[in-house]
């Protein structure tokens, strides 16, 4: 029977359809048939289904968790979570495995002999009572002696109610601002940029912008590896749309570059010049949106020639103290400041052809297109990270491309809840919940009202505390006596580990009493005096807030193993013991802060995890619903705080709706999410109708109203190009860039314990340009010593092209403890945000 191949293929499709109808398709589909995903049904018979959020990145993919007989048996994408609509990435799909590593921590551990720090021995099992007594006694001792010598280092992975309570304990209980999250290392530049420009944190748009835009501009962002679900949506938009373009601005080619119509490869740090050249082109050629400028913007310039924070004393120096200062200027003065940034000048600085920069500028000018900029660490982990955030917003504000569907500047978040927790509940050294600042008197009064504290009580914390790098620099000098860390692995992720791990001349880490709350043994637990075993992910109920302002709940699905406990329980116990005998006003301090939720007699919560989470949430959401508290409502009105800008819904709405993007507004008894803040339109369609009615103005250019900004005018701030903290030299001729790759999350403490992910990416490699290798006599697979003025490490070379660096640049991911690349990385930070520059350390490479 003759048949053409074409006919055969068509016939096969018919057969496939027939087989599907007959139910035989499942025998043919891949071993991991996710027949349940996308349909909402369980894949495993008899399993209990709970709603969750992925443990890993800032995409915040919703997941459905299935558990049976006390164990998680399946994790699939949640089609009802509007962030990902059922999509996931490999890490999300393997979440079930992350709880079951063989060496899971299940008992508290105590180190009796400090000389064993930095080794994988020296820790003995202890009871919870012994561990908690030790921790709280050390904390209290330090607190009473000198509270400048204690610190908490938290995380953008700490669930919301846990972070909220930690902030409350530290700030209202201990009256200390020495609390900072690892989000300082990822989002601080974005945060300071937002606050400087808009006086409110977090993006105005939503992931829906990806589906609506015509042009993607990725600025130093390897989304394919670091925001994989969103990258799938980006490429889907390119496939489904007509004429959709992608411009990739990057210092090295990555998997993300593969979808780009044009790759603009720039010299490290020169993105500032490129952005200014684009803005200059728009202004000089009258291609900016004049009506938008007139209706919405104000112009400023700030302190310049601010140097770099090489020295510990930088922040307190004259220049360090001046970095936040700005002055108002006119539009004409702003244009004059931009004028030197010709296309040719930008080409000279960046190496990007002037014609390409012009092409991109013209895209921004093209009113027939919508343009969406996306960025994270390439912009934020930058010695001028805040300035670079400013420069991207400047372009978007000049062209009126902000807060509108498909037209926006989207600062992506790295961690699952750097937004929801660190930024929104205020576990930063300078913040209070809901964007409030310790330094602002009305903000302290407002917080006192909600926390039921005596008026003036929080004046004791009006001065910001130590930011992250400062905490670790001070610890290295022996100036921190007590450090508690949770949901992070600082011994692998901090920069300049040679200093901070005591491998250089500063050995302070050996004397600090360090408490590490953890789920697995890590390099950080090797330096701990006490290790507290924590419940992991869905072993307790938690809440995350992702990059598009979506707050979502992950339900408890299984119990933690052994004696591992909920982090919130540990916090309550330590707080109760530390505050024992202390008073706030006429009330016992612990009772005043946490008495509604925790019973110190029974050592347990007043209610199950759902009830407790709900009750804590209700207090927290008062910050953005001032009408729930009479005193707060009055302060909100008198001080014009506009706290409803971040309005949150009641707790159960987040479970019922599989997450909601704030501000969430109550309309006719329903809670409606907002996709586009400051953009007028129907609330039920995702626009900020109610916010604008309450505080904004209608019929302004672009249909937006920036009601939270000072005078309702976001600030376009001129920021010049200033070079990286160090430039390649004869001694250190390469620029070393670090980052993440798809298969592993951060320091790999979870993902490397998943066999499939470990097999997929078993080691960290140093990606090098093949010609650089040839010049150094290196070949693929050779071991090299990577050294900088900060330290050295050993790593294997790769020319396989996972990333394709240009001449003079090398890249490695930071997930591998055995390579420990952060021994080499500078701890120089953006002077405004205090966020370290992980992307531009100068190094030498030597074959071993």
């Amino acid at each position: 029977m003759e048949i053409s191949r074409r006919a055969f293929v068509k016939t096969t499709a018919v057969a496939l359809a027939s087989a599907a109808a007959a139910g035989t398709m499942s025998a043919l589909v891949g071993c991991s048939a996710p027949s349940g995903s996308g349909t909402g049904q369980t894949t495993v018979a008899g399993a209990t289904r709970t709603v969750g959020v992925c443990r890993f990145c800032g995409c915040g993919c919703g997941v459905i968790v299935e558990s049976k007989d006390g164990k998680i048996v399946a994790v699939t994408g949640d089609p009802d979570n509007q962030s990902n609509r059922g999509l996931n990435c490999v890490k999300g799909y393997y979440l079930a495995s992350v709880l079951y590593g063989e060496d899971r921590l299940t008992e508290p551990l105590i180190r009796d002999d400090k000389s064993t720090k930095g080794t994988d021995g020296g820790l003995r099992k202890a009871t919870w009572d012994e561990a908690l007594e030790l921790v709280s006694s050390k904390l209290k001792e330090t607190w009473k002696k000198d509270k400048s010598r204690l610190a908490f280092w938290g995380s953008g992975q700490q669930p919301i109610v846990e972070g909220y309570c930690t902030a409350k304990f530290w700030k209202a209980g201990l009256l200390s601002n020495n609390i900072d999250p690892n989000a300082r290392l990822c989002m601080a530049s974005a945060v300071v940029g937002f606050m400087n420009i808009f006086q409110t944190d977090e993006p105005a748009g939503s992931y829906t912008d990806i589906d609506e835009t015509d042009t993607f501009v990725t600025w130093g962002a390897n989304m394919a590896e670091a925001h994989p679900m969103l990258y799938s949506r980006l490429t889907a938009r390119k496939i489904n749309g007509t004429g959709v373009k992608h411009y990739d601005l990057t210092t090295l080619k990555t998997r993300t570059s593969a979808s780009a119509d044009k790759v603009l490869m720039f010299k490290p740090g020169s993105d500032l010049a490129i952005a200014n050249a684009i803005a200059n082109y728009l202004v000089q050629n009258n291609l900016y949106d004049q009506a938008f400028v007139t209706d919405h913007l104000q112009f400023k310039q700030g302190t310049e020639n601010i140097g770099n924070a090489f020295e510990d004393g930088y922040d307190a120096s004259d220049v360090g103290k001046s970095v936040d200062a700005v002055q108002s200027i006119s539009f004409e003065e702003y244009a004059a400041r931009l004028a030197p940034y010709t296309l040719e000048y930008a080409e000279q600085i960046s190496g990007v052809p002037a014609a390409d920069i012009k092409e991109l500028a013209e895209v921004f000018a093209d009113k027939s297109r919508k343009v969406l900029s996306l960025w994270t660490m390439g912009v934020n982990q930058h010695n001028r990270g805040t300035w670079m955030n400013h420069c991207i917003y400047n372009i978007h504000l000049l062209t009126g491309r902000y807060a509108k569907p498909g037209d926006g500047a989207f600062s992506l978040t790295g961690q699952p809840t750097a937004c929801g927790t660190a930024r929104e509940v205020g576990t930063f050294s300078h913040r209070l919940p809901a964007d409030l600042l310790v330094a602002q008197e009305p903000h302290r009064r407002y917080t006192e009202a909600i926390w039921n504290l005596p008026e003036g009580y929080l004046d004791a914390i009006q001065k910001p505390g130590m930011h992250t790098v400062k905490i670790f620099r001070e610890m290295s000098k022996g100036n921190i006596d007590f450090l508690w860390t949770a949901h992070n692995n600082w011994a692998v992720s901090m920069p300049n580990l040679t200093r901070f791990l005591g491998r250089g001349d500063k050995k302070g880490i050996n004397d600090t009493f360090i408490v590490v709350s953890e789920v697995y043994p890590t390099l950080s637990t090797q330096y701990a005096d006490v290790v507290l075993p924590a419940a992991m992910w869905v072993e307790r109920e938690g809440q995350f807030g992702n990059a598009e302002r979506r707050t979502a709940v992950f339900e408890k699905a299984v119990d933690p193993p052994g004696n591992a406990k909920w982090d919130l329980w540990m916090l309550m116990e330590i707080a109760a013991r530390t505050l024992d005998g202390e008073k706030i006003g006429s009330k016992g301090a612990f009772e005043a802060l946490f008495g509604d939720w925790y019973d110190t007699e029974t050592h347990d919560f007043k209610g199950d995890q759902r009830e407790v989470s709900r009750n804590i949430w209700e207090e927290y959401r008062t910050f953005s619903n001032p009408d729930l508290n009479e005193k707060a409502a009055l302060i909100n009105k008198e001080a014009k705080l506009k706290m409803e800008n971040k309005q949150l819904a009641p707790y159960d709405a987040y479970i019922d709706d599989h997450g909601l993007t704030w501000p969430v507004r109550e309309v006719d008894g329903k809670w409606l999410a907002t996709k586009w803040r400051f953009c007028d339109g129907k609330q039920e369609d995702g626009f900020d109708e109610i916010g604008i009615q309450q505080y904004g103005k209608q019929d302004l250019a672009g249909g937006v109203s920036f009601y939270k900004s000072g005078n309702a005018r976001p600030s376009v701030v001129f920021r010049p190009y200033e070079p990286p903290a160090e430039m390649p030299s004869a001694e250190y001729p390469f620029v070393f860039c670090t980052g993440r790759l798809l298969e592993h999350w951060h320091t790999g403490s979870m993902s490397r314990r998943i066999a499939e992910l470990d097999r997929a990416l078993p080691e960290a490699l140093l990606d090098m340009n093949p010609e650089d290798c040839a010049e150094l006599g290196l070949k693929d697979g050779d071991m090299v010593r990577l050294s900088s003025r900060y330290g050295e490490c050993e790593i294997k070379v790769s020319t396989a092209g996972r990333t394709s660096p240009p001449h003079g640049l090398v890249f490695a991911p930071f997930f591998a403890e055995e390579a420990l690349i952060n021994l080499v990385v500078q701890d120089v930070y953006c002077p405004l945000s205090k966020e370290p520059d992980y992307k531009k350390t100068c190094v030498a490479i030597e074959k071993l």
Partner: protein, 106 residues
Amino acid sequence: MKKKTIIAALLAAVMSVSVVAGCSSGTQSAASVLDGQPAPMPANHNGRYTDLGPDGCYGCHGANEKANPQLVGAVIVPEDHYSRGMYATMKIDAGYNQCITCHPQG
């Protein structure tokens, strides 16, 4: 039409009993794979995605005008990866075009 119907029936009969090669690639044991976990690419696929992109996968695993998994005994892409969740569309949903996002090199 009759010829095609006969062939379709024969194929359906074959497929209902055949073992698909991908499942027996040996990269995952039944004990390690939980439901819903996408299989990594086997070692003999090294570089295929980076060189050829998603077309390099669809060529063997997808059902469309160009592909026929049965010719090479390849694992068939699950139905929810298809447009509107239906094999009959013979078109992979654009949201699933980044195969390597879920199926890294094993």
